[in-house]
Amino acid sequence: MRNFFLIFLKEFRTYFNSSIAFVVITIFLVLSGYFFYNIFATFSTLSFQAMTNPLVAQQFKELSITEMVVRPFFGNLSVFMLIMLPMLTMRIFSEEKKSGTIELLLTYPVRDSEVILGKFAGCLGIFTVMLILTLPCFALVLVFGEPEMGVIVSGYFGLFLMGTAFISLGVFASSLTENQIVAAVVSFGFLLIFFMMGFSAGFASERIGNILKHLSFMPHLSNFAKGVIDTEDVVYYLLFIFFCIFLNMRSLESKRWRG
C-alpha cells in the first residue's frame, strides 16, 4: 500500500516536472473550451431565434439546455480524451524501459501490482485534474440556464469511467514496448476501434451487430450522458479496466519467465 502510494505520487509529480501535464491539460482545455463555446453559442442563437420567430420555435418541441449543450459537450469531451489520454499514458512504462530505470524499479522490493497500479493511478490523477478543470464550462451553463444536475453528475461519472478505461489500455500498451510512439499509436488505434465499433453494427447480422454495439465505448457513454446510470455500462467499463490491468500484470510478469 505504501509502495503504491509512493509510485503514484512520483508519477503524478513527474508529469508536472516534465511539463507533460501542463501541455496536455492546456491543450485539452483549449479544445474543450472552444467546442463548448460553439455549442453554447449555437444554442443561444437558436433560443434567440425561437423567441423572436414562432416558425423556428415550431421546429423544436422544447429547447433544452441539457439536451442541446450538456449532452453534446460530454460527447466532445470523450473525443478529446480519446486523443489526449494516449499521449499521457505512452511514456509510463516505455520511458522507463528505454532509459533502463525499470531495471532499478523492478529490483526494489516492490510487487508488480504495486508498480502497475501506482503508475495507473498517477495517470488517473492527471486525468482527474483535467476533468475537474472542465467544470467551469458547466458553471457557465448553470449561470445562464437550468440544466438537470443529475445529467451532469452521471455524465461526469461516465466520462471518468471511460477515461479510466482509456488509461488502462494506454498503460498496458506502454508496458509492451520501449518506444513511446509505438505505445501511443497502439493505444490510440485500439481505443479508436473500440470507440467506433458500434458504427458497423448496422451492416452486420443482428447478433453480431449487438455484440459490436455492446463492445463499443460510445453507446455505453451515451446512457450516462442521458442521466442514466445503468449497471450494464458500469460493469462494461469496470471489466474493460480489469482486463487491461490483468494483461498488464501478465506483460510485466512475462519478463520473469521469458527466455
Partner: protein
C-alpha cells in the same frame, strides 16, 4: 551470503552464462572480471532478481532469487552499469522515493537521505535535477540509491566506468570502506581496480567461469618462474655470463639498451629460489654499477589475457 550453483542463462540459442558456480562469504568484496559480453551483467541481473536463470540455483542471504524474490530484493543494493536514474527528479527527492520503496522507516527517511548524501558527497547537488548532473555525480547518486537502505549485499556493475581519476579514487575508497560490513560484488574490466578493492576475484569469459581466487594467488599460481629485472652499467656479454653462474638463475636475457651504457636484463629464476642476495655482490665485485633491481610480478592484466586467451583453469 551468496551461493550460486550451476547457473545457466540462455538468450534464445545464444549463451549468456554457462554453468557458473561460486560463493561469496559475508563481508567479502568480490571482483567480477571479464571482457565485454562475458556474462557479468547477466549474472548480476539474475542475482538481483531482474531476470530469471534458465537453470541452476542462486541464493542471496539464504533466499532463493526466484522463489523469494521480494526477500532477496529487500537485502540488496544494486547499481546497474548504465546508472539509470529518473532525470526529472531532484536528487534528494529521488533518494527519498527510493528509501520509501526500499522500506526505510517513514520517520527515518529524512535522516537517512541526509546521511547518505553526506557519505556520497552529494550535498553540492542537493538542489539539482538528476538530469543536470555530471557523470561523476550521477554515479554517486546511483551508489547512494543502492546504499540507502543499508543493504547486506551490494551489487555494483562497473561502478567506476566513465569517471575521472579523482572520482575513481573516491568511489573506490567508498567501496573499500563498505567491505567488512557488507558483502560486495563488483564487476569491472579495469584490472588494477580489482587488485585494489577486492579480496577475491572471479574471472569469467564467454559465460564460463575461468578462475576464482585472490588476486595474489592468481598472480602466484600463474607464474611459472619468478623474474627479476636489473639495470646495470657494464659490458653486456660479461654481465650475462657472470650472472648466469649464480645458483638459481635459469636464464638471463638482455632486455633493452638504455642511455649511458645502462642496460636492462631480465633474470629468470628457478622456481622457489631467491637469489636477491647473490646478484649485487657479483656486480660490485666486477666494479659495474647497479642502477635498479626489482622483481617482475605478473600483473592482473597478464593473468587476465592469459586466462582469457588460453582458458586455463586453476
Amino acid at each position: 551470503m551468496i551461493e550460486v550453483e550451476n547457473l545457466t542463462k540462455k538468450y534464445g540459442s545464444a549463451r549468456g552464462i554457462d554453468d557458473v558456480t561460486f560463493t561469496v562469504e559475508k563481508g567479502e568484496v568480490l571482483g567480477f572480471l571479464g571482457p565485454n559480453g562475458a556474462g557479468k551483467t547477466t549474472t548480476m541481473r539474475i542475482l538481483t532478481c531482474f531476470i530469471p536463470a534458465t537453470s541452476g540455483k542462486a541464493r542471496v542471504a539464504g533466499y532463493d532469487v526466484f522463489e523469494d524474490a521480494l526477500d532477496v530484493r529487500k537485502r540488496i543494493g544494486y547499481l546497474p552499469e548504465s546508472v539509470p536514474l529518473y532525470t526529472d527528479m531532484l536528487v534528494p527527492v529521488y533518494l527519498e522515493f527510493v528509501a520509501g520503496l526500499k522500506g526505510v522507516d517513514r520517520r527515518d527517511i529524512k535522516n537517512r537521505v541526509a546521511k547518505i548524501m553526506d557519505d556520497c558527497g552529494l550535498n553540492a547537488v542537493s538542489k539539482k535535477y538528476i538530469g543536470e548532473l555530471s557523470k561523476g555525480y550521477r554515479q554517486r547518486t546511483g551508489l547512494a540509491q543502492a546504499l540507502i537502505n543499508d543493504p547486506e549485499v551490494l551489487i555494483l556493475d562497473e561502478p567506476t566506468i566513465g569517471l575521472d581519476p579523482k572520482q575513481i579514487i573516491d568511489i573506490r575508497g567508498l567501496i573499500k570502506n563498505l567491505g567488512g560490513r557488507r558483502t560486495v560484488i563488483l564487476s569491472t574490466h579495469i584490472l588494477p581496480e580489482v587488485s585494489m578493492t577486492c579480496q577475491r576475484v572471479i574471472i569469467i569469459n564467454e559465460g564460463r567461469l575461468v578462475a576464482v581466487d585472490t588476486p595474489q594467488n592468481l598472480t602466484y599460481q600463474l607464474q611459472r618462474s619468478q623474474q627479476i629485472l636489473i639495470r646495470v652499467k657494464g659490458p653486456e656479454k660479461e654481465i650475462i655470463s657472470e650472472l648466469s653462474k649464480i645458483n638459481g638463475v635459469s636464464r638471463i636475457t638482455a632486455k633493452e639498451n638504455g642511455v649511458n651504457g645502462i642496460n636492462a636484463y631480465l633474470v629468470e629464476l628457478k622456481k622457489d629460489m631467491d637469489v636477491g642476495n647473490d646478484i649485487p655482490p657479483v656486480i660490485v665485485r666486477k666494479n659495474w654499477s647497479l642502477y635498479e633491481m626489482r622483481p617482475v610480478g605478473m600483473s592482473l592484466e597478464d593473468i587476465f589475457i592469459k586466462l582469457v586467451t588460453e582458458e586455463r583453469i586453476h
